[in-house]
Symmetry: C2
Subunit: 578 residues, 2 copies
């Protein structure tokens, strides 16, 4: 509820606004500053609208249950306290946390102040985390319990350290050993603040910087990318709208309950920090949790929609009892979805869509069921697992090595160049890298794909992972997917091996399901089986004969990157390929 | 299909882009200018994307059938020709046409040039049309056959006159008598142009003005409103997204076929000129057509979605044979939907949603089925007919006469103040009017409504039409709706009659279904029946006793405005009330 006082002085109308937020039936009054700015595409207005239109919808975070109205009040208090403590437009605030309500609140409180949210990639090695804290010029660092041990190495570089906890947790709990007197406590800041919209809110425009993130980067130092408010409004909303406009596995309905398993640090949990409040839907935040705990939450809170990388999806499926199904819609991506995993998901009742994008380009495409296809068409599953269609307002060009635009024939491989209204303009303080990757108003993704006549894109592989054999690209992603379908294969990777005659030839690395990788006979048998399998597929026309790997290597497990993807660079080093 | 040439000079990369548009299987080549601008929220990119992603989807306009790819080619040719002829950023171009493919093409060709599309309200009296042509400073005027007779009175004020026709129509058809040698012909311009993206396209930003429209205005001269590109991207898309995210009668599916019956001049047919190509759906443009012809088109082209004012909906229903149904989703608005019309629509299979908004504020709210309600709930129909929920990103305040914010109790009447990212900043060259209606970053709508706890809004009436009796507002819209439900009533209007004691009292104007309005006995009988009917409803608690009109007046028909709404000002004059 709102009230508004009007004063007439010399025919000039002055409005003094007081906001009364309706909280679970009760009414508390707290005045806010004057609301004189034209509505912009700024992040905090998303929560403001949610608190107004969906005040009683829930946010569940561990043992905490909040409504959007509750959260908005906490956000106002936090912003007010931070305002008093000198957080200004441009102040950089680093956060080390899993997906909790406190992290979500910071998304909105910092927005009101024009401060820049540095979502720290906690999967980076500690020295890289410290590098990003220094490079982004973080003045504040906010740490939750799982990352408490990092406090000592980060302290020297920041002015303020805040524990994402309450006083009891700090005084008596696991944080006691880390706490220092000058440190601040999250819940105390909220307690001390007043639910007043800070005056700076009027100075924030949609062009203001909103957040900063550092890409993992398989080589060299992490690269920083800044997102503006409008980027983080438009891009997440287009993910939502795309999933709502087109039939597909992760189709969104306003009645869904959302649980992001993608961490907030990664493009704000692929935009869910923004689009779930925008939709006014119930949000479940899993905090630090094991796959088993996440599965229990899905059941308890009736979660119907989640996002996760294929590795997480595979782990979730592993937890299901034989024959058990799970009614869940999943948006997955980050690495290709193998046909084996796609089939397993479908068998267990999980519907999925594939998203293509990345920190440097944001959301770009999501798989949909094509117009000409019935929803239950048997081919729909494969298309949902492999072919993404550009989000509305995204324009994609597929260019050959020589710079020509390649035909939309579902065969010719090109590099993906992306243009959109939310494209970042480059890497922070890295003019050379920026100039290379951001050209002509487009981002050069380094990803290779083929484009189908309906405009959908099959990402065959990262450029650096692709195999160029005799002047022709071999799509290693396709090969990996085909190999993973074989019942004897748990995981498969295909890498380029230098070859005198052909330039490069494909090498397959196989993690078998059951054979003993140290037993050469087992390996030889599996290799023989796989070669016969690939030969049969070649005869069926599903792959070209020159795509068949020359060499097979068998491993017990594959190295992974900090983001949970297969670490191809490490694998290459392990096999002496680079 | 695209091709791109790359030239390396001193390590500087220069891109020369050539666009090859794939048209119905054939490939034609035409070079475009360099594509170096960052993607903005500009109108012409919507069609560009449609031509790329949905090249074969159809646009039907009279006997003409085009694909999006065809239309994009025609738009490029037209823009190129106009570029040569001196149409520049800021050039104002007036158009007098019904909903045709040519008018739609102008939407996109002028966008590429940064010219301003003046969508002339052809329902204005001729002297007002001429006033708007002069006030907007139209340099070009484009006229189609239905408006040919206006040519002579407009000619003196413009530099160029273009006939929306081909040479045959001008040489031998109905336009022959109007054509003068210096006039231009639409299809000749397209024929003479090359399908080249004009160079100016790079200078257009989302802040550039896109179109201008003059509101009807019941008093005084029409007021001009300018829309920026971003306004006409964001607002139509939010209408689409709202209709896709929430269940409701006019719910949108990408498989729908759209036929806008709202004229393009009125906010670009309530945004369909933009959001249908954005969705890549089939579009049917009815041109100049009678309701019977529109019904035939709906059946022939399998139209599943349309927009229209309640008067049009009523006329469509009148055409159906007894017991006949029509599977059509309708977005309606512009004036309240009476319960009688809502019921008739539902009985005939027509599903509808109500939109609230206007030229001065654009799309603001659309009715949805509330979260707690089943889709087939019997109350859903009434809610869809009466209560709109703000579009995402729209923020609405309901203020009392004294400026206080009124509670969301479904009872207290307040004035609607609207804020959104696409709000115009005022009326063209009318600083006083602008300052009155556009304040605090909000538009003061002059509409009265009540707000429900779920945030939805029931627009009870225009402020100037409302009745204030004894210090209390009487919602005349509610009264009109209730009266219209009575089987003896064809149409009902409630107006304020000055009253010494109460300030104002309601007066009901009734168009009876069957009684002879000149027969006093018939009138007395009906009045008696209606009074008993209202008394019963009062006893049921559906209306307050003081709402019951003191006076009943019976008329054969009601005067209507140029926009097809009931002309309350004229009615007031007719009855000696103003």
């Amino acid at each position: 509820m709102y009230m508004l006082c009007m004063c007439y002085v010399c025919n000039i109308v002055i409005f003094c606004t007081f906001i009364f937020i309706q909280i679970q039936g009760g009414v508390r009054s707290r005045p806010t500053s004057v609301d004189l700015y034209m509505r912009q595409l700024v992040i905090h207005e998303i929560l403001q609208d949610a608190a107004q239109l969906f005040p009683k919808r829930e946010i569940v975070s561990g043992d905490v249950r909040l409504t959007y109205a509750d959260m908005y009040e906490r956000v106002l208090r936090l912003a007010n306290r931070l305002d008093q403590m000198g957080v200004k437009p441009g102040t950089v605030v680093g956060v080390l946390d899993v997906n909790t309500h406190r992290y979500l609140e910071l998304h909105y409180a910092l927005s009101m102040l024009g401060a820049i949210l540095h979502t720290i990639n906690f999967r980076l090695p500690p020295q890289d985390i410290i590098y990003t804290v220094q490079h982004a010029k973080d003045e504040w660092i906010w740490i939750s319990e799982p990352f408490a041990k990092l406090h000592a190495s980060i302290r020297p570089y920041v002015k303020h350290l805040v524990w994402l906890a309450d006083e009891t947790e700090v005084a008596n709990g696991t944080l006691k050993e880390f706490y220092q007197e000058k440190d601040l406590i999250y819940e105390t800041l909220i307690h001390d603040g007043q639910a007043l919209l800070p005056e700076t809110v009027e100075t924030i425009t949609e062009q203001s910087p909103y957040s900063i993130f550092y890409t993992t980067g398989t080589t060299g130092k992490p690269k920083g990318i800044r997102y503006r408010h409008r980027d983080m409004v438009l891009s997440p909303l287009q993910i939502l709208h795309h999933l709502s406009l087109h039939p597909g596995g992760a189709h969104i309905d306003r009645r869904d309950t959302f649980m992001p398993l993608i961490p907030f640090f990664h493009i704000h949990a692929w935009g869910t920090a923004v689009f779930v409040p925008y939709l006014g839907a119930k949000l479940v935040l899993p905090g630090k949790s094991t796959p088993a705990e996440q599965l229990a939450l899905i059941r308890k809170e009736e979660v119907s929609w989640s996002n996760m990388v294929p590795t997480q999806l595979s782990m979730l499926l592993d937890l299901l009892a034989p024959g058990e199904t799970l009614s869940l819609k999943v948006l997955t991506g980050g690495s290709p979805l193998s046909k084996g995993l796609a089939r397993r998901s479908a068998e267990r009742g999980i519907q999925f869509s594939l998203i293509y994008g990345g920190s440097d380009q944001l959301g770009t495409g999501i798989s949909v069921i094509p117009e000409h296809m019935a929803l239950n068409d048997p081919d729909a599953l494969e298309i949902l697992a492999t072919r993404t269609r550009p989000l509305p307002m995204v324009n994609i060009e597929m260019r050959s090595k020589e710079g020509h635009l390649v035909p939309w024939d579902g065969q010719t491989i090109g590099e993906i160049w992306v243009s959109s209204p939310w494209l970042p303009d480059g890497y922070l303080n890295q003019p050379d890298e920026s100039a290379y990757f951001y050209r002509d108003g487009r981002f050069r993704s380094g990803d290779l794909g083929v484009r189908y006549p309906d405009g959908s894109i099959y990402v065959v592989d990262r450029e650096r992972d692709a195999v160029k054999s005799g002047g022709e690209w071999i799509p290693t992603g396709v090969l990996e997917s085909i190999l993973s379908e074989h019942p004897g294969v748990k995981a498969a990777v295909v890498l380029a091996r230098p070859d005198e005659k052909w330039g490069e030839r494909p090498l397959a690395i196989i993690v078998p399901v059951s054979s003993d990788p140290r037993n050469p006979n087992d390996q030889q048998d599996l290799e023989k089986t796989l070669r016969a399998y690939l030969k049969a597929l070649t005869e069926q026309g599903r792959l070209s004969s020159y795509w068949v790997p020359d060499t097979f290597v068998f491993l017990e497990e594959l190295p992974t990157t900090s983001a949970g993807k297969i670490h191809k660079t490490a694998l290459r080093q392990q096999l002496g390929l680079s």
